[in-house]
Symmetry: C2
Subunit: 294 residues, 2 copies
DNA sequence: CGTTTTCTGTGCATCCCTGCACAGCGAGAA
DNA sequence: TTCTCGCTGTGCAGGGATGCACAGAAAACG
C-alpha cells in the first residue's frame, strides 16, 4: 500500500460522492482525481467505487477505506496542530548539558525555570563526554573556553568565571602567605596533571613555579578543588565557589587574563523555538545577579 | 496537513535514521526524500529532524510523527489486505433484488447459499422500485422480461416462468370448464388492470375476451393471484405456484408464448468477484431442479 | 594518519504528473 | 418533449517533481 496521497484522494471521493467535489476540496483538477482512483483500484485489484454519470458511490471496499482514512485524517490533523503549536509553547523536555564545574551556578537557574514553566521537564546532563547538539542530545549546552564550534551552532557569551589563588587557613598558618607571585618560592601548589590544559590560569601557574613545587596534581577539576580545601597547597579556585568556604584565604586576587568565558551553545534549529528562547532569557537574567563573575 | 506522501517519507526517515535508507525503502532517489522533508518542515514551520552528516535524528516533533505514521501504515496495510482479500473470499453482504413474484423460488436458494457460506449475510430486497446496480444497491438482480439494460450490466438467462390458466374447483363446479379458448364465452376472468402490461399472457387474454368479462382487475400480481385462489374467476398463475394449491384446476395448459424469461443481472464490476460468482453458480444449479419451469 | 566508505546536499536534464479544454452523457426542470 | 446543467472521461501541452551525477564532509577502518 504505497502512495498515501491516492488514499487521501479516494477518501475525499468516498466522503463527498463526486469526483468534482473531491477535486475542489483537494485543490486539484478532477482529472487528477480520476487518475488517482484508477491507479489505486488497479493496484488493489478491486473496485472502490461504482461509476455513474451522477458521481461515484463507494463499494464495500470503498466504505472500508472511508472509515480508515477518516481516522487517519483526524490523526494527521492532530499531529499537525501539535507540531505547529509545540514551537509556541514552553513544554516538554528541556535538556541542558554543561561541564560539572558550573553545576552550582546552573542548578538554581533551572529549578526556578522549572518553577516558572511547570510544563517543562528539565534534564541536566553533566558527563565527561561532550553531548552533541547536532544529534539532538541537548537543547542548550554551556561550554567553557573558546573552542571551535560547528557551523549549525549558535553561540552566545554567558559570563566569565573569575579565578583566584587560594589556600586554607591551616596552610597559611603553617607556610605563611606569599604576598605576591614574587614570594612563591618554597610554597606548595595544586595544579592540573594534564600537560595540554587550555585553562589560562593553569598555564600561568605552570610557568611561574617549579615542577617540583606542584605537590598535588589531578585531572579532575573537582579533585583539584578538594585538594586545595584539604590544605594540600595553594591552588586556583573559582571565586564564586571559594566564597562559600570561610576557611579559604585568598593568596592572589583574580585577574582578567585568568578568566574563562562561558558560552551558551544551541543548535540553530532549536534556537528559534520558544522553549529554548525562554530558557535563554531566564538564564541570562539570572546571570546578571551572579556575584564573583565578570 | 495536505500531502500524505511527505508524511510517509518523513516516517521512513524517522524510522530508519538516514535519508538514504528511507530512499531505498521507498524506492525513490534520496534527493526526493530530502526535498519531501524540507517541504514538510517548511509547511509545518518546525524542524522534524536534526541534520548531520551521519544521518537524520528525529526531534520531539519527529518522534511524534513517527508514532502517528507507524499506526497509519499498519492501518493502511490491514485495509489493503482486507480489500485485496475480499474479492477472493465469499463473505460480507450479498444483496439480491428481484420482483416479489419469484420470492418463493429464490428464498430456498439464498437460504441454502447462506448455509454453504456462513460468512455471508444475505439481504433480499423486493420493492416496487427497481434497485439500481450502478449505484451499488445490489450485487445481483433477478429481472423479468427482456427490458433494455445498461451497458455496464452483464445479463444471463436464468429460466423461463411457465404460466397457465387456472380457476378454483368451486368456480368450475358453478360455471363449468371452458375446455379451450373457444368456450370462453360467458366466463369470468381475472386480469391485470394496467393497459400497458408487458406480460405476454395478459396481452393474450385481453385479446381473447371481452372487456366486460374481466370481472376482477388489479395492478399487483399478488392481488391477482389471490383473486384467482378466492374463486373470482379464471386467471393466469405461474405453474410452480399453482402446483402448491390442490384447489386449483387447470383451465388451459401452459404454452411457450406465455413464458416469461428470468434474467440474472449483475454489474460488471461486481460480476467478477468470487462472492457473486459463487452465488451465480449456486443459483443456476438450483434452477436446474426447479419444476414447472422451462 | 591516511584511506575508504557512507551519507548529505545541490545543479541540471528528463520525465511523469498535472492542468486545460472539450466531448459525452445522464438527470432534472420547464 | 427540449433545454440546461453538472459530472465524468480523455487527448494534449506545460511545468513541477524526480532521477542523476558530482561535490563535500564526517565517521569508520586498517
Amino acid at each position: 500500500m504505497e502512495n498515501w496521497d491516492e488514499i487521501r484522494t479516494a477518501y475525499q471521493v468516498a466522503r463527498l460522492g463526486t469526483v468534482s467535489g473531491a477535486a475542489e476540496v483537494l485543490g486539484v483538477h478532477h482529472a487528477t482525481v480520476i487518475r488517482h482512483i484508477d491507479a489505486l483500484e488497479k493496484r488493489l485489484g478491486a473496485k472502490l467505487f461504482q461509476r455513474h454519470a451522477r458521481g461515484y458511490t463507494a463499494t464495500e471496499a470503498g466504505r472500508d477505506l472511508l472509515a480508515v482514512a477518516q481516522t487517519t485524517e483526524e490523526q494527521f490533523a492532530h499531529l499537525a496542530s501539535r507540531i505547529k503549536g509545540q514551537g509556541e509553547t514552553v513544554s516538554g523536555e528541556l535538556v541542558v548539558t554543561s561541564i560539572a564545574g558550573v553545576s552550582d551556578l546552573l542548578t538554581p537557574v533551572m529549578v526556578s525555570f522549572q518553577d516558572a514553566w511547570p510544563e517543562v521537564r528539565v534534564r541536566f546532563l553533566t558527563d565527561m563526554r561532550v553531548f552533541r547538539l547536532d544529534y539532538g542530545e541537548a537543547h542548550v549546552a554551556i561550554r567553557a573556553g573558546t573552542g571551535p564550534e560547528e557551523p549549525d551552532n549558535v553561540v552566545q557569551p554567558l559570563t566569565r568565571i573569575r579565578w583566584a589563588l587560594y589556600a586554607t587557613r591551616a596552610y597559611v598558618d603553617r607556610h605563611g602567605h606569599p604576598g605576591s607571585e614574587a614570594g612563591f618560592q618554597g610554597h606548595r601548589f595544586v595544579c592540573t596533571d594534564a600537560e595540554t590544559t587550555k585553562a589560562p590560569f593553569h598555564r600561568w601557574l605552570r610557568s611561574m613555579v617549579q615542577p617540583e613545587q606542584v605537590v598535588y596534581a589531578a585531572t579532575e577539576p573537582a579533585a583539584l578543588e578538594d585538594a586545595v580545601k584539604q590544605g594540600a597547597g595553594i591552588g586556583f579556585m573559582a571565586v564564586h565557589r571559594a566564597a562559600n568556604d570561610a576557611d579559604l584565604i585568598e593568596i592572589l586576587p583574580p585577574r582578567a587574563e585568568w578568566e574563562t568565558p562561558l558560552r551558551i551553545v544551541t543548535h540553530v534549529d532549536l534556537h528559534r523555538t520558544l522553549k529554548v528562547q525562554a530558557f535563554l532569557t531566564h538564564l541570562k537574567e539570572a546571570a546578571k545577579s551572579w556575584k564573583f563573575c565578570g
